[in-house]
């Protein structure tokens, strides 16, 4: 008889912080004490609070432990699992509510404003056990569509729900399905785009690692809706845990005849093949993804014809993102109205974001559309570390833009983000504080696109490189009058001329930073000054003689012997030797060294 479950996160974040060893230590300890029949250890998907991992939750009470190490195991077993006394020092609490910490996880700031639909099973079930998925209504939606609904009804339900693609563009999912359903063809395909590539984004990864069957079930539903019997999941080879769990899930689904021939005895056939992406960002672009599945160099092809008409191997194909698919079964079971009741007028449901950058709770959150950026960053994300000031939030990855403080109260949905010069993208959200140079941020994202451009069309291949060269000049203190205008002109031409979405949106990080932080560009170009003191080449590091005690700590630390002076007298920095490494600043105990 199992009397307690210990859930240990098996997502990538917690796995990297050692949850494998933790689980092994716990199992050994339980065995030693003869508790293995009473207490079950479950490896789950991601809980979201990756920064505080490895994470462990003990049920039935729901105690949420953070940063647990194998050394903590004997204490947890002895105190909590045997004596029922919570190990307070390991409990997570940001609720500010006294004594609530032990069992009301949902009252914590991090979870209170979240609504987990796509992530509903992440952290709840063992993703390697199909029975656990089925126990939580898994495959009931597939059964329902196959036995009670016509393909048209399925499509209508998805249309009515208002679900839009979560991969970036936000195209209505139901319409995509409808187009593909309408094209007559003996062979059609359902493709799941799991080639998540935005820097810092791991929404899809977490869904695949925590709830792979949700994606498989949704693909089968989509197959039924459009008349496809074959599906492909294109997943990055760099996601080994996701791949392993998908492989297990597909195998289990086949064993239960939830994939394969004559599913639910209805005559409907559907099966899924995995394809591994080799890490090219552009393969997340749907036509490049198809080309890659076909075994060719992953490059975009022109649209029209759209994949719904002529897609994989020339056949009608729908391509849906992982998170989009993770919503499907819930919509079928709970109804379009339920889904449409969440969110804003044109953006329904929830959206998963990967919080990163200068934010306390780095991790994964799912919020109803319409939540403001301020709520995400301050209420859920716990604000900016070290009391620094918020400067901007970057959404939409390399295709998106930077949102300044003045737009913190914008309700997040597809259209409002576009209106303020960014985009939803796949859900990366990177927070920047006063120490971030916005020209440097633009440069960072452009470096990424330059590196990831496939090279097929000239505007992207050469144009992004030329933009990067200008940004490099500016941040190196060689900016010239006219550079901003040239950047804008190039950006506009690339946007109008590039072949695919990657190229067409590549200039966005530059355009949006120019829109909100033009003064920073101008300071770099005309004053040769980086307002955030970030750009090395522009920084002037000097010793304030009033504050310097002449202790020589700085000069001893300087790697290039640029600092000299007499003990107990103010030291000076030789600017011709200084490499702006800032080691001296860290060493000075008197705050005497300043950057300008």
């Amino acid at each position: 008889m199992i009397r307690a479950h210990v859930m240990i996160c098996g997502g990538t974040g917690c796995t990297s912080s050692g949850s494998d060893k933790l689980a092994a230590a716990l199992e050994t300890e339980l065995k030693t004490r003869g508790l293995e029949e009473e207490i079950k250890v479950v490896r789950t998907g991601c809980f979201g609070l990756c920064a505080l991992g490895p994470i462990m939750i003990v049920y039935p009470d729901g105690t949420f432990y953070i940063r647990v190490t194998p050394d903590d195991i004997p204490e947890i077993v002895e105190e909590h699992l045997l004596k029922g006394r919570v190990v307070q020092r390991l409990v997570y609490d940001d609720s500010g509510v006294p004594d609530i910490k032990a069992n009301s996880l949902n009252e914590t700031g991090f979870y209170k404003k979240q609504k987990r639909v796509a992530l509903r099973n992440c952290g709840v079930i063992n993703p390697e056990e199909i029975d656990e998925y089925i126990a939580l209504d898994g495959y009931r939606a597939l059964g329902k569509v196959l036995t009670e609904m016509t393909p048209d009804q399925v499509i209508q339900t998805i249309l009515d729900s208002g679900l839009r693609g979560r991969g970036g563009g936000g195209f209505p999912t139901g319409r995509k399905w409808m187009f593909a359903a309408k094209v007559p063809s003996d062979k059609k395909y359902v493709v799941c785009n799991a080639d998540e590539g935005d820097p810092g984004a791991f929404m899809d990864r977490s869904v695949l690692e925590g709830d792979p069957h949700a994606v498989i079930e949704a693909m089968a539903i989509a197959g039924y809706a459009i008349g496809a019997d074959e599906g492909y999941i294109y997943v990055r080879a760099e996601y080994p845990i996701a791949i392993k769990r998908l492989e297990i899930a597909i195998r289990e689904a086949r064993e239960y005849n939830l994939l394969g021939k004559d599913i639910f005895g209805t005559g409907f056939n559907f099966d899924i093949t995995l394809r591994f992406g080799a890490g090219a960002f552009v393969c997340g672009e749907e036509t490049a993804l198809l080309t890659s599945i076909e075994g060719k160099r992953g490059e975009p092809r022109p649209r029209p014809p759209f994949p719904a008409v002529k897609g994989l191997f020339g056949q009608p194909t729908i391509i849906n993102n992982v998170e989009t698919l993770a919503n499907i079964a819930q919509i079928i079971l709970k109804g379009a109205d339920w889904f449409a009741s969440m969110g804003t007028e044109k953006s329904k449901g929830t959206k998963v974001f990967a919080l990163g950058g200068k934010i306390n709770h780095t991790g994964l959150v799912e919020i109803p559309m319409g939540t403001t950026l301020r709520e995400i960053i301050y209420d859920i994300g716990g604000g900016i570390p070290n009391g620094k000031k918020f400067k901007a939030a970057q959404t939409g990855g390399p295709s998106g833009g930077c949102i300044p403080a003045s737009h913190l109260d914008t309700p997040i949905d597809y259209d409002s983000l576009i209106a303020i010069g960014s985009m939803m993208g796949s859900g990366g959200l990177i927070v920047m504080d006063e120490d971030n140079c916005m020209v440097d941020i633009a440069k960072f994202f452009l470096e990424f696109t330059v590196d990831e451009s496939c090279g097929k069309c000239a505007p992207c291949r050469i144009g992004t490189r030329r933009m990067l060269e200008i940004l490099e000049r500016i941040t190196n203190g060689q900016g010239q009058d006219g550079d901003i205008e040239k950047l804008e002109e190039l950006a506009m031409n690339i946007k109008t001329s590039a072949l695919c979405g990657l190229g067409q949106t590549a200039p966005n990080p530059v355009l949006s930073t120019l829109r909100y932080f033009r003064d920073e560009y101008e300071a770099h170009i005309y004053e040769k000054r980086c307002p955030a003191h970030h750009c090395k080449k522009l920084a002037v590091i000097s010793i304030n003689p009033e504050k310097c005690k002449g202790c020589s700590a700085c000069s001893r630390a300087c790697p290039v012997e640029a600092i000299s002076g007499e003990i107990k007298k103010p030291f000076v920095i030789d600017q011709s030797k200084c490499i702006k490494c800032r080691t001296c600043i860290d060493k000075c105990r008197f705050g005497a060294i300043e950057i300008k």
């Binding site: 590196d451 097929k456 490189r465």
Partner: protein
Amino acid sequence: MMNTVNITIDGIKVTVPADYTVLEAAKEAKVYIPTLCYLKGINQIGACRMCLVEASGTRGLAAACVLPVTDGMTVTTNNDKIRKARKSTLELLLSNHNRECTSCIRSRNCEFQTLCNEYGVDGYPYDGAKTESTIDDVSPSIVRDNSKCILCRRCVAACNDVQKIGAIGVGRRGFKTRVGCIYDKSLADSPCVNCGQCIAACPTGALHEKDSTADVWKALADPDKYVVVQPAPAVRAALGEEFGMPVGTCVTGKLAASLRRLGFDKVFDTDFAADLTIMEEGTEFLGRIKNNGVLPMITSCSPGWIKYCETFYPEFIPNLSSCKSPHEMMGAVIKTYFAEKNNIDPEKIYTVSVMPCTAKKFEAKRGELGRDGIQDVDAVITTRELARMIRTAGIDFTELDDEDFDDVLGESTGAGVIFGATGGVMEAALRTVYEVVTGKTLENVNFEAVRGTEGVKEATIDVGGTPVRVAVANGTGNASALLEKVKSGEKHYDFIEIMGCPGGCVTGGGQPILTAKQQLSLDAKTLRASALYKEDEGKTLRKSHENPSIKKIYAEFFGEPNSHKAHELLHTSYVPRKKYNI
């Protein structure tokens, strides 16, 4: 009835087939849309972004070359936004381009240069770093210079999709993207068959033939050298284009005259050797039938095809005719028969072949094609290189009076002339084989079934009661399709003609280069071929065995076709080759 749609382009209404692209429709409306990566029937990938247009029903600008027409579509091809986008793309391409245009082989015939002129690109506003580039000049036939490559990928499509060879492809990505061979190896170490179709596809100077004109000039200037030249049949059908004459003009007389002006000691004609080839190959074919030899017999005139066979289909090597290619036969004849007759030391003879072909440069260097350390052919220049020599010599080509080739190796029949078109060797062979087998005069010498530019043609010819099943393939891609059917047993033939280049020699890799714009509006394969068929029609003698000089050479020198001496001088052998030399 064909499905059609109505579409308005720049205010001009046209009705076009429903499967047209906007670019094709624009041609019907007589609207010119600039292109760089587009090459009719070969490359339609929407990569270069030059053909951007505004079209109803599409977001932003769309590439006309890949945009399907829809009924009622309205298209704008010329407005400020479009011009700006095109010009900006040209400026970007130029910023990453080797701009030594004055010394470029394609100057004045460069599609990129033309567009930059048309769009008034007058500076380098986006100058910056350039993509790392290399020059690969190891191959005896083809030089690749990535610094001039604009990554239109027309060469890649020609090599992969048309010729099905795949020697070159696109490697790396982003700004580092470049066209090249596997592991950055040279073409010489790749399965390249030297056909030069990549050169014919290239809009810039990134691909060109390995230049041999310097060697030829040097030989011409050497008083100790006796320099003999022979132009291939197809050269006369295209050389005029280099001097502004319309595609399909036959310039045989001017060709002979210009070669004489250049200072060659003898101006012979490969057409003679084509007749000689028919004597040898026809006899070989009849021998194979009679002695239960390996069939189908496959022609061996095309060195691109030969290397393709050796590399990709070595199992067909026994099927290859052992005949040398015509110009190699000619080289051997010049350095033996002609040398003996005229008492010239063969070592002093320098033979130059003017060929529509880059693969002939590779062929001429094959060790088995010569004897005693003397190669049959010393230099091969392409039609383009000859045109450059004519220009350098200040010869006003269009004003030249027609002249004849020199006796005796300059005399030919209509059968020899048509070697330059796909199906020509087969037709020439059939004319002779028919008469040899039946002993009767062939009344209608035109075998229409093997003419035309389809990739694979087949026919069954009644030769005195014996049905002879023949097939003709042009282009290695089509050859592959044909051979696969032979291999699987689906098709049975007795005699197959294969030419390495699509269209045969008239559109060989050494011929004058037509721009994508020209290729969109005219069919060079057909036009150049008809120039040759017209020359054939005009000849009194149209069967190789009727050529008096051929009769003479057998009587005086070889005895009879396939004689021991003929085998020694006019036949060769082949070797299986590895695809990669790595």
